[in-house]
Symmetry: D2
Subunit: 162 residues, 4 copies
């Protein structure tokens, strides 16, 4: 089953700029992560943007929706910042993607920082996108949630059912 | 959904003995990996054995089958050495576990070595065990395989459908 | 030879706050780094402050000088942010520490981020402090510099002789 | 001061072969380690051999001595397995290298395994080789030892003065 991975940035792909001491985006780590997972799925990765999801506006969100709808694959994984992941899931659901299974995932710690949850989440989301029925889901904390039944608990940093 | 994780050792949990220069088993890394993945699933971990799967004999394999059958959970994840993972999957399938979903996973590189695929595989297997129908599966390389349709390609180190 | 390690924070000890996405100080990583280096020197570590060296004012700088002067050891290693490391070296030199050997070091990438230069620099600085004659030095990039003959090149992030 | 790094293998440079589950040598990690340490010393690295020091015979040991003697640099760092590091130090001392400063170092855990002491030891040894007077030394555990006053404690894995 061919899978499209749409990369949008988020903590997942942040790096440390040693000259400024700030976090920034350079290139995505997703291909490196897939190699490390010895992933043999039929995948196409596509960088839609590299952005902190707090800075994602409606136009940017629409670009993600458009790419998820227009790509050939029916299984779509989206890497996304956790802060507005649920909003993008809602926008995707509202767009009526038909029989596509769309799974959003992200990370609380950048992959480049060693102690990241990113590799776990990527493995988890790739599995969910293969076997869940059509719909829009968030995959975090080892769990999957329907787009309309999840929120990020900003105090704990975890996703929870509502 | 409560999940039982049966730990049997394998490359997943090997460590480097700096005095002898050999690999050995000390304790399992699975709880540390779950914490790193910020996993919030309802899990019970149980160490059945800590063994290189090449040294797993019939009696040992039977202990794994017994624990998978007798535990209360209907979702069972087993960490296992990759060399004989398929044989254990066959033994599990032959035991008639009824409506249980059993997923075996492992790693090509020890988790403790930094570049391991273990965290990816654990995230992947935990997702599969939540959503696949009853049966016995191997989850490796981002994929899932029915117990009777998979082999490890010893030249590449990858699992493939047969 | 007993060595005093004065910890002042700096990039060395920064961590990633996964709730806010910002860098912060929690506790020092120096003891963990010494353990990883299997360091068997006679050491006393002392946290003077945990601060970004850009925020270090004269009073704070004076506290570092005072601790370097007043501690019993004649070999003193100071971990310090790189941005104002040279200014603190100058303050130490101006304080007239007599026959003490004082070495300042730091890191361009936090130790917690995996790809850090911190462990290399710590090993380097600990060696220099054991064998250099009395004076105040900066140890970075594998080199050592007299306090009055070094600057940080802010474009490259490297220390160079002047 | 130009420094020659002679690479001979040892735990420092071992890697995990995921197909066989054994440790082996592929290429040296020293250049990667130097880059991570942002090392700006004037260095020439030379791979003399890639060997477990338990398998180093007299002819091999003589090749190391020859390269240390014949290279142009007066500062020579040798990466070496810890098991016979002291014997090679003795051979180097016996060869009469005149006014050269030779420092041997190694690691208890391979650099590739994440938790290695190698980066600390490399930083330490590079500093010692710049400032110690002519002679042959072992640099391990943050310390330096004269070639004739050190042994590896095989129970603890640490080097100690004799």
């Amino acid at each position: 089953m061919p899978i499209r991975i749409l990369i949008t940035g988020g903590t997942f792909d942040k790096e440390y700029d040693e000259l400024t001491g700030r976090l920034f985006f350079k290139h995505t780590h997703v291909p490196e992560m897939l190699a490390r997972g010895r992933c043999l799925l039929e995948l196409t990765t596509e960088t839609v943007m590299m952005i902190d999801s707090l800075e994602l506006d409606d136009a940017g969100r629409q670009r993600i929706v458009t790419r998820a709808r227009d790509c050939d694959e029916t299984a779509v994984l989206i890497t996304h910042g956790t802060d507005t992941m649920v909003r993008t899931a809602q926008a995707l659901a509202g767009a009526g993607l038909g029989r596509k299974t769309v799974v959003l995932t992200g990370a609380m710690v950048p992959y480049a920082f060693g102690s990241s949850d990113g590799l776990f989440n990527l493995g988890s989301a790739l599995s969910f996108v293969q076997v869940l029925p059509p719909g829009v889901y968030v995959a975090m904390n080892g769990q999957h949630f329907h787009w309309d039944a999840v929120r990020k608990n900003t105090a704990s940093g975890c996703f929870e059912a509502i």
